[in-house]
Symmetry: C2
Subunit: 308 residues, 2 copies
């Protein structure tokens, strides 16, 4: 079923203890689309500047990403520059140049307005709402957000959340948005704001899916070699939504749980290399193999029956 993502396409410069890469393909929509494209065709709505390499567009198109919704504007592409320390968790942002992204205002084509699964990448909540205005009858609208909007555009964000079915946030964002420290309470407070589901991303510690009457927790794939965590969260969302979009409209619990694990599995590939390098190399059967490995690493048997 059709999956639409609205978000950023960027040229990233990333420094980790293992090296430095300049002007590589980045942005939430790029990671999301590439991850989701393992499962389903993806429609991407984004903006790039005159300096955006054609090779990146060719790559996305070759992956089955419909880039008709990527508008080409005068000026430079959105650029982000960040650095990771040995902890390899949160990036220190060294530079952000919004460039053409500054005046991004997503316009959906007639075809895109029929999207059934919609991912609102991490953009201004008012822009996210404008996308929701345009889609006709989505099966699921998911959104991402960040501290910048939680702090700076809270009223707009709360309005958007009322129209969102699923929110992706990390621990810190969930706490900031809800005012609750305990992560279960934080998730439940977010459910009360509108979304029927919250996915809490916890980096190397895994992820959690919280619905009113349902909870699923999963650890992260343990990795001895983490190279560059950029895009892990967007990859997670792409693997998650891509998996859902292949489930024939079902949002049943086993489907959602498989989507969570597939999100984790995909993110575990992304962090093994800079940018989208690792996702370019792997096949769907690599995903299946790691999914099975994940299952083996986390499986435990039931207890023997207790004597009365």
């Amino acid at each position: 079923m059709s999956l639409l993502v609205v978000g950023s396409v960027a040229l990233d410069s990333v420094e980790t203890p293992f090296g430095l890469k300049e002007d590589v393909l980045g942005g939430s929509a790029s990671y999301f689309s590439t991850a989701a494209s393992f499962f389903t065709p993806v429609q991407m709505v984004a903006v790039v500047g005159e300096d955006f390499p054609k090779a990146h567009l060719d790559f996305l198109r070759a992956r089955g990403v419909d880039i008709d919704g990527v508008s080409h504007e005068k000026g430079r592409t959105f650029r982000w520059k960040g650095r990771y320390s040995w902890q390899l968790n949160e990036a220190e942002t060294l530079d952000t140049q919004l460039n053409v992204f500054q005046s991004f205002s997503p316009q959906l084509s007639e075809r895109h307005r029929d999207a059934q699964y919609v991912m609102l990448g991490n953009i201004h909540p008012e822009l996210q709402a404008r996308v929701v205005d345009q889609v006709r009858a989505p099966r699921l609208v998911a959104a991402d957000t960040m501290n910048f909007w939680i702090n700076g555009s809270r009223p707009a964000l709360l309005k958007t959340l009322e129209r969102v079915n699923l929110l992706f946030v990390n621990d810190a964002e969930a706490r900031q948005l809800s005012g609750e420290h305990n992560i279960i309470r934080a998730a439940r407070a977010i459910l009360a704001m509108g979304p029927q589901r919250v996915v809490i991303k916890r980096g190397e510690y895994g992820a959690m899916l919280v619905e009113k009457e349902h909870l699923f927790v999963c650890p992260a794939m343990p990795l001895a070699d983490v190279f560059d965590p950029t895009g892990a969260g967007d990859t997670f969302a792409g693997g998650f939504m891509g998996t859902l979009a292949t489930a024939g409209g079902s949002l049943d619990i086993p489907v959602l749980r498989r989507a969570m694990v597939m999100g984790s599995v995909m993110a575990s590939f992304t962090v093994e290399q800079f940018s989208l390098e690792r996702l370019r190399e792997i096949s769907r059967s690599d995903l299946h193999q790691r999914f099975s490995e994940f299952k083996r690493l986390t499986h435990f048997d039931d207890l023997p029956v207790l004597d009365a």
Copy 2:
């Protein structure tokens, strides 16, 4: 099979955002023994002072803990005073009075020297080694340690680790001991120091079991109400070792994994109240119920078979 623990018995004063308790039963051996006593008789080797309430000894004895190895010395019992902030993770130590614990030198009786499962609580690594000297033919020797010994008594600790089969540490301790930031690399570096198994405790994020050719990761039981995390790690170890001690000598992977989950489950009860209050209330069937709940919260299905 027989399970022996050597460690501290303390009177704790704990302040959390939810209240304050003074001079309550604490110490690694108390938490460990109480947790393990759900599964198997426990032999406790520890020291208390003249001020130690008889009621606590009665409680332990009633739980099937053999307290013949608890020596009564002149002076006051070991006291620890700590405070937790809203984060409810690491305690700020406000006061430590070693008292009779300062000159603790564990002497095992003839009977105790036949123990098959041995837990070396968090005491000086030389004292831990002296316990290993005294046991005759243990099936498994497990140990706990902390930053204080990792920093201050590293050579002694490394000597002890050569004689230990399983080490319990938290993330930070694993990193400090190994000098590796990545937790998988840290665990493997510790394996190279002697232990055949390392259990990494990650608090609210769960735990990980690392052997040379085997890895198991499990999340923590998600809890909306964490009251007092004191003793969670010792409870985990007690539930883990207690489960092992009922497995007829097996250290097979399914047994170890069940022990990990049971450790998590038990710790999830401990943190729901001050001191050992919650463990006093529950039955083995409560443990089984929560174990099953844990399984439900973490279960996911295999992927459908991939088309060729």
